[in-house]
């Protein structure tokens, strides 16, 4: 039996998804033995021209991590789509936009201004901003075009499967790769390597009284490690987030931030979490409710930390 040809790509992301594959540790060797890696720029020296040279559909499966934030990301996404039989959105960024998609609360001009002009450490007297083309003595230099709005992979090209997580946990990664090697894949469009139920289902903390009397941030309180964090006033995205990660954040006394994305029946993770959270506010008068609502700082950053690009609104006012 020929080993499946596999590609890994890193687009707009932190690189954690590539690390996640290394995290397989000794298992990585087993995995590597079962597959034939044909493209993995994070690890080996591949050029896009190598990829372009491959025949269409010659790669069996491409794992694509990272969101689409510039023309390079988009180009490679399209390229990999053409060259691969199956394309997998790997990790929160490719699946839902991830942290990079929080850029959708602002826009290119503001990002450039902040990065290249306004930060105190920036020394840019001539106020030079990135240009896609620049003429130098040696000829024309180009860099990719930076987009106003970050997109998910499937908003750019057709996607076969999704693997959530920031990054996907190691145990799930090896399971997923095995699914591709050994078969047993669900129908196209499915989310792999995650549970069909929310994180609450696997969370070991005790849930009792669903009443939120206050909202605090993690540094403002000392957590009870046995009790549900929501009941302690810490916004935990667990109820509105797929499980499967093993609730590792909760074990470290940190709330779920929602990286495993929305549940199967849910079209907008943030909207659902907002609804669930505010429904159990322990306040009945408009005034009291307002007070609690005011203590939710940065709703977008809280409810859509990883899924803004995949949300209904996608970004702030265009």
């Amino acid at each position: 039996m020929t080993k499946p040809k596999v590609a890994f790509n890193w687009a707009s992301s932190c690189g954690g998804c590539d690390i996640a594959i290394f995290e397989l540790g000794t298992k990585l060797v087993d995995v590597a033995n079962k597959i034939d890696i044909v493209f993995w720029p994070a690890v080996f020296d591949y050029k896009y021209s190598d990829l372009e040279a491959m025949p269409d559909k010659s790669i069996d499966v491409a794992f694509f991590n990272g969101a689409i934030q510039n023309s390079e990301n988009e180009h490679v996404a399209k390229l990999l789509r053409a060259k691969s039989k199956m394309l997998v959105a790997f990790g929160a960024c490719a699946y839902c936009g991830g942290i990079p998609a929080l850029a959708n609360t602002t826009n290119r001009d503001q990002i450039f201004a902040s990065s290249y002009l306004e930060t105190p450490t920036t020394d840019n007297v001539e106020k030079v901003l990135p240009q896609t083309k620049v003429q130098v003595e040696e000829g024309e230099l180009t860099i990719p075009e930076f987009y106003n709005t970050v997109k998910t992979l499937d908003q750019t090209v057709d996607v076969d499967y999704y693997v959530p997580g920031c990054p996907p946990v190691g145990e799930q990664v090896s399971k997923v790769i095995n699914q591709f090697v050994e078969g047993g894949l669900p129908p196209k469009g499915a989310v792999l390597g995650a549970s069909e139920k929310s994180l609450c289902h696997e969370c070991k903390r005790v849930k009792t009284d669903r009443k939120i009397t206050k909202i605090v941030r993690t540094y403002q309180t000392i957590q009870d490690p046995e009790k549900c964090l929501l009941e302690q006033g810490i916004i935990c995205m667990g109820p509105a987030t797929r499980g499967g990660c093993g609730s590792i954040c909760l074990d470290a006394n940190m709330p779920c931030r929602g990286c495993y994305g929305p549940l199967p029946n849910v079209i907008d993770q943030g909207g659902k979490m907002l609804s669930a959270l505010s429904s159990v506010f322990d306040a009945d008068t408009e005034e009291d409710i307002q007070k609690l609502a005011d203590s939710v700082v940065d709703p977008i950053g809280t409810f859509y930390r990883f899924s803004l690009a995949r949300s209904l609104m996608r970004r702030t006012k265009p």
């Binding site: 907008d268 907002l274 409710i289 977008i300 209904l312 609104m313 970004r315 265009p318």
Partner: protein, 147 residues
């Protein structure tokens, strides 16, 4: 007077009306032949407490210029306190919509009893005027332009 349709922007407003109070109130406005702008398209729900914020986000992202949620006055809810839960969600939603850059005039929570046809008409009229002044939201189309 002939109204020139091409000139005036007609806001598209999605209304979620609870069947006990607001929807009946809206019916009463009609039965009383009160004239008001036909810009709110009503979706009947049993209680304003059924209105998942996702539905509001859906409407705004799909092309609505505004969303009206209308239920029974606090204390008058047919289901005791469904509307209180609506207030809870609405207050946080409002805060989030601020962040999204959506003007507060576009998404409103109002109380209309079954006998307040006049009030319903006034609310719709007022809301239509305010959104007309703000202009179209047109989220879906604008998203594509700024990509």
């Amino acid at each position: 007077m002939v109204i020139d349709l091409t000139e005036r922007f007609e806001p598209k407003i999605v209304g979620f009306l609870c069947k006990w109070c607001a929807y009946t109130g809206a019916d009463l406005a009609g039965t009383s032949r009160i004239k008001y702008p036909p810009n709110v398209n009503a979706i009947r729900v049993n209680c304003s407490g059924r209105v998942d914020p996702t539905l509001v986000l859906k409407a705004l992202s799909a092309g609505a210029d505004g969303v009206l949620i209308a239920g029974c006055h606090p204390g008058d809810c047919h289901y005791t306190n469904g509307n209180v839960k609506t207030i809870r969600r609405f207050k946080v939603l409002q805060k989030m919509l601020d962040q999204f850059g959506i003007e507060r005039e576009r998404v409103r929570l109002e109380w209309v009893s079954a006998s307040e046809g006049e009030r319903y008409a006034r609310i719709v009229e007022n809301m239509t005027e305010e959104i007309r002044a703000l202009g179209s939201l047109n989220w879906k189309a604008k998203l594509e332009v700024v990509a």
